[in-house]
Symmetry: C2
Subunit: 431 residues, 2 copies
């Protein structure tokens, strides 16, 4: 299957069309090799804004691009939509649901998945937020619970329907909690007659002493203040002890809620195990300093899948810039090797992560940001967040039009984003 | 549950937030009565464009509006999202999944559903197109089948994956077939390397001698020509004999296709039976000339639910204008009665349907249209179609912005509308 071209072009297989895989493909020079990009979904997802879909602020189409639309016309480039089921590093083969691919180089960028710290049974009661399906399910659940509350005579059930619990105070949890609070107080409050959505409870649970624990303490404090200003109940140093249908036990208290969202842990996808490497407790594989797999210099792993302390002692974080920089690094490395370049001393250069800062939004017009030595918050941080995320957009060819679209959606499509398909389900804990 | 208002305002319950129910609510003067609008979905759907969502041309949010966003702030107006499970016309009670409503007037506008002419077992193999879920499922199925075809070595399976069969040559079937043909020939053709989507087969089956059988013969002929120009195989006078997984037997031939769509029949929803009235074979209730239910002058039925030959001998068609005009008529009638007006002779005025014409699009820039005595086709008809449908938009407050949005979506969001959530499923006949 070489499209009639000479088989002399090397073949690179890239698993995963997230930030890592896509950046690799975009940075790798056209025509230098044949590339096959394989993903089990048909689209690239702009994950930093996934929480917006979950909170009915944006629609799925605002943050996703079909992979074929990004690369459709590129020569020597194929897209396969299938789940990778096996890797044979000796035979240099990738096995997927509908066939096999042999490679000269392999880039594994399959990403992460929600992790429940050894309690997989919690997943059915507290879904995570990693895919469009996750976001749409959360949105649907929350909107339906308010519909139920509107006609619910029992006050305890009504309160449970109007309570949202977000577990995990990292950036995703902070963003979810702040935006749910805004949703109830500024959007839904106008829609109902028998309930007052502005009285809905939004509770954020975080096990460590502060939210945004990976950020500087001042920003954690600022984020908590801004969240509380929006009406979120922030409970730090509060570990979850048990989760069951409609109920969370945390910090010795029982919280009843029909809307429990888990954003407390990410682990590597199971495919990582097929690399046969040492990995951490979250299944993230410990790659070599050049991001390759020990014993297989033609195989690379990048993004949320890996665990690495770089050459300067910096732990590469499991966020978009980590994947993006790694994808660019591997593209350059393979390009140079194919060009015949041999690095001095025979050793490849190690990967170095450039920490460009951290940001998290809290609601519609506030955020915290740390760029280099500058830490700031509030509206200027939010503007910076917006600017940086626009820069990082991949595949959205016309960034100006996307900005306009987000603006339009943000302020007017609120309505559209509240459309849920399907009919009203049975009362209470329907999934 | 009267919101603290005096119980003296009459209570009107409206079942269904489609064109009929919504027009009733919009035309009925604010404050004249308390209105409860109940629907099992949370949104109003602009059904004429549902086929666009099914063919990945528009997104769900382009054609749906949350009901609460349309009426949220209207005084004496409640929205209930629940399925109506029973009607007690004697006690004047509507029973729904989470409670009951008593009414002084009842307007049943619950609409239609896909009908399989006594073959309900065909539904699992040939889904219909009535709801957003239907449209999204069709879209997903078609896009996934092309993904499968891309890596399918067996030519017979590949052909089946690249064949789309539309059953039913009415306006919906014509619009679906024409747009699927365009989708494959002008959008998908650029996305794949191993298959040529422009060679996909789109087959339209119609049991009567011509497509658009309810339209003038010249327009039927024009529609067929335009469809064939787009590459659709039109088979009239071809009845479906059997449907099974991936296969349709029609006109003595067996067609293999992974994408079979049914748009050949609409019947009244089961709720219609609870009105206890005479109905036709499709379950449509035979209302009195004033659209009321025999023996219950305070109960009205409108829209796809009813079967009526009006006072001028015109059969009220099951299309949007039929529901819209009926909704407006009933609103005026109830308003006058509440105002104390008694019609001369004690008999209410009969409903008269004003046939403003018929239209159907064929692809992106062609259509057929009949308005009064004028029949025209091609691009001018398409422009007229666009203008009329914009006029009929309900609840989309800013029609100019919707026009811009449709234009934007139509030409650029093609990409966005091709995003499907979920992962690649197992090969072949997955549902």
């Amino acid at each position: 299957m070489t499209n009639g071209r000479p088989a002399s072009l090397p073949h690179i297989v890239v698993i995963g069309a997230g930030f890592g895989g896509l950046t690799f493909c975009q940075k790798f020079p056209v025509g230098r090799a044949r590339i096959t990009l394989i993903d089990r979904q048909n689209h690239h997802l702009f994950q930093p804004l996934l929480y917006q879909v979950a909170t009915a602020g944006l629609s799925a189409v605002d943050i996703a691009q079909p992979i074929r639309a990004i690369f459709g016309n590129r020569p020597d480039f194929e897209v396969v939509m299938a789940e990778v089921t096996g890797l044979d590093l000796v035979a240099r083969r990738v096995v997927h649901a509908r066939g096999e691919l042999t490679y000269d180089y392999l880039v594994v960028a399959a990403g992460g998945m929600t992790s429940y710290f050894g309690h997989p049974e919690w997943e059915q009661f507290a879904p995570g937020l990693k895919t469009l399906d996750d976001a749409l399910a959360i949105r649907r659940r929350v909107l339906l619970s308010f519909e139920r509350a509107e006609t619910e005579p029992d006050p305890a059930k009504r309160d449970a329907a109007m309570t949202i619990v977000v577990i995990g105070g990292g950036p995703t949890g902070v963003e979810l909690a702040g935006t749910f609070a805004e949703l109830t107080r500024t959007v839904l409050n106008r829609d109902f007659d028998h309930i007052d959505p502005s009285k809905a409870r939004v509770i954020l649970l975080e096990g460590s002493p502060r939210v945004l624990a990976a950020y500087p303490p001042e920003l954690s404090a600022s984020a908590q203040r801004q969240l509380e200003h929006l009406g979120v109940e922030v409970r730090t140093a509060t570990r979850v002890e048990a989760i069951s249908a409609g109920q969370v036990v945390a910090g010795g208290q029982t919280l009843r809620s029909d809307n429990i969202v888990w954003s407390a842990g990410v682990a590597a996808v199971p495919l990582a195990r097929q690399l046969g490497m040492e990995s951490d407790r979250a299944g993230r594989v410990k790659v070599r300093p050049d991001l390759s797999v020990p014993g297989h210099p033609e195989v690379f792993a990048i993004g949320d899948l890996i665990s690495l302390v770089d050459a300067h002692g910096v732990t590469v974080p499991g966020i978009a810039p980590g994947a993006i920089q790694a994808g660019a690094f591997v593209a350059k490395l393979i390009d140079r090797e194919l060009g015949g370049a041999r690095p001095a001393g025979g050793e490849r250069e190690p990967f170095v992560y450039l920490d460009k800062g951290n940001m998290a939004t809290i609601g519609r017009s506030a955020a915290v940001a740390e760029i280099g030595r500058f830490k700031f918050s509030g509206f200027p941080a939010w503007i910076a967040w917006l600017g940086v995320h626009l820069l990082f957009l991949i595949g959205f060819r016309n960034k100006l039009s996307v900005l306009l679209q987000w603006t339009y959606s943000y302020f007017t499509y609120r309505r559209g984003a509240r459309v849920i398909s399907g009919t009203a389900g049975p009362p209470a804990h329907s999934s």
